[in-house]
Symmetry: none
Subunit: 207 residues, 4 copies
DNA sequence: AATGAATGAGTATTCATTCAT
DNA sequence: GATGAATGAATACTCATTCAT
């Protein structure tokens, strides 16, 4: 609303528009068939205009992925609204599920890609964001241990047990390896409950 | 030089050679940079010769993947050498681990790929082979239930619990999301033990 | 005329046609603005057809340059028709002049380019051909020394004296540094005579 | 910080800075990879700022070349420090050699380029500077003739004999056609001596 | 005096595939 | 059973330059 805002016109707009176009293409057709041409076309720009805003394809893609992480985190932090440690832990698992199923393509690149498939080596930034998420889960586990709901002591390994299981379910689902007799949501929650039982979880009720 | 060699052309030979070339390229350079040209060149054939044997690129790739499944099964069936149901179940998990870590590229396409990465929707044949593997695991679970080592009744869902966890660990590992403080093998076995505890597994000893 | 010749149709034709197109463009517009597209277009082919016949741009260019050397040599060998050593030496200088002025663009890339201007590092093959030409001149000098027409002993250095002078005249001429009051041919022959006088040449008459 | 610095904008400064950036890039990477973008970047300006100071790329390049001529002349005029006509003539040849070997990139564009390499037809200004240099050499020759050291009468043609030979040696050297058994400096001086002998030069001693 | 946005033409090259032989 | 010729679409990216500000 300041004059400055007025005088700098659609610069930010354009950049955002490009990211959004890239994101859309990438979400609907996959990373593989995302090209600078397509992106520019969809954004209503010349191919080369995109190069004004992003150094190169990798740069653009990493912006798109960052967007994915931003969304991911917004799901996660909703889990903090739970009122007890147990609830927050379970909500975290649910949030993870929700993010994955509502943003399958994002999930795919963020967690299911293998380096040379992506061609884009996971950036430092992305790594940091993943670490942050692991820390987030660690906090959830730790407060459950403190509350006597999980066998202690809290460890990154416990996080890994949980994450792996969640990721295993989701990625098998997303790659079509789980047939649809039971709703996946039910399956997911039930399977996570089994996992948590293995971890000595005391609370019986699942969301 | 034998008449047989002369009269029976190397049709089958050639086809096999093409698959092997494709497999080698794919295993060493990844699916992304596997092209019909390269395959043909490596097989010592003209590019077009491959089209005599395979409808198109996807057809060729799916043959390569089938080869992966054959290898996969050979790992699995070794688990049958275990002497007790518990041992056979645990060996199955270990076999799965072994296949994945010794054939990461195969594991990747077979279980970690998403539709548009392959462009090849998983073929009927592949689906059948996966179903067979699930059945294999189901048998392992069922004999453990019969032996009173697992909470009954045996179900495909129990298989899924196990598979998901195994797959989750392995795929996070293969995509570089697990840092290497602990040897992955230890981690894997430990984590699988936690999972099996959740399933009510009675046998304490892990291979 | 053999059946074989008949059945292999315009394969060689096409390759030749591409080289000729490349040569023409390059002779008229220079190496700098020779592109695969232009070449293909001029040859009446799709851009990619050229890649069937040449590995890449450099490959094509080096074929063009080789063509230049072939022409160059045909000029040189005409000098062997001279009846005496002196005549053959002088005819060599004249041949060099003729090649350069009748094929200035070829001369340019063959002798006036600097590595990074060409981008195409002078190929082994080209180097060999230049060496052959130097040897040719050496033979001319040597037979004049034997005939007592030049101060001995014959040496590569004497060749260099001659070549440098010839090249200096020609390249200054081709790059427009010599204004046209006197016909260049006269100038060239006169200047070469001065050079040869410096080398102790006995024969007075120049072509 | 002085008032002058503040009030007089750095227009001239900026222009100079651009030329210097262009020169640096050109000297280190060659004419081919000199682009307006790179120049502007290196000068710490926006790409378009350069267009404020130079009509277009060719204009900028020709300014860079002018800089080369300025340097060239500074080498030449050092030859005037010689104490006798003969010495001054020989020093001129040496200066030419020195300029070329110490500033090969400059030598290249100034004397070895062919029209379409530069795209910039040698500017009027450049032509003038070359003419001045020829006159300079003419003066050297003339004073030698006056001193009875060279066959008279002095002529532009004699200058051309000398210049051509010098240029021939240098350009063959710079384009890599002279292999390095003998130090080029020795070769150059020796070869120039041969040339001057052809011109009837009386003085034996060479610098 | 300088900037940022955007353009359009151009670059080499890779690829899967069709067709005639 | 295999080959060679050719195609057309696609790819990322570079560059000089115009325009509005």
């Amino acid at each position: 609303m300041s004059p400055a805002t007025v005088s700098a016109p659609n610069q930010q707009n354009t950049k955002t528009r490009i990211i959004e176009s890239a994101r859309d293409i990438y979400l609907s057709e996959g990373l593989q068939s995302l090209s600078m041409r397509k992106v520019a076309k969809q954004a209503g720009l010349s191919t080369m205009a995109t190069y004004r805003h992003f150094e190169n394809k990798d740069d653009l893609i990493s912006h798109v992925i960052m967007e994915g992480f931003r969304i991911f985190q917004s799901y996660f932090y909703k889990a903090l609204e739970g009122k007890t440690p147990a609830e927050r832990l379970i909500l975290s698992a649910d949030s993870y599920y929700l993010f994955a199923t509502e943003n399958p393509k994002y999930y795919e690149v963020m967690f299911m890609s293998v380096s040379h498939v992506t061609a884009t080596a996971p950036s430092e930034q992305a790594q940091d964001l993943i670490r942050a998420s692991i820390q987030f889960l660690y906090d959830r586990v730790a407060e459950c241990v403190d509350a006597g709901l999980l066998d202690g002591p809290a460890s990154k390994r416990q996080v890994l047990h949980l994450w792996s299981h969640s990721h295993g379910l989701i990625s098998l689902y997303l790659s079509g390896h789980i047939d649809g007799n039971t709703p996946f949501k039910t399956l997911y929650q039930e399977s996570m409950a089994v996992m948590m039982k293995g971890l000595g979880f005391k609370k019986e009720k699942l969301s």
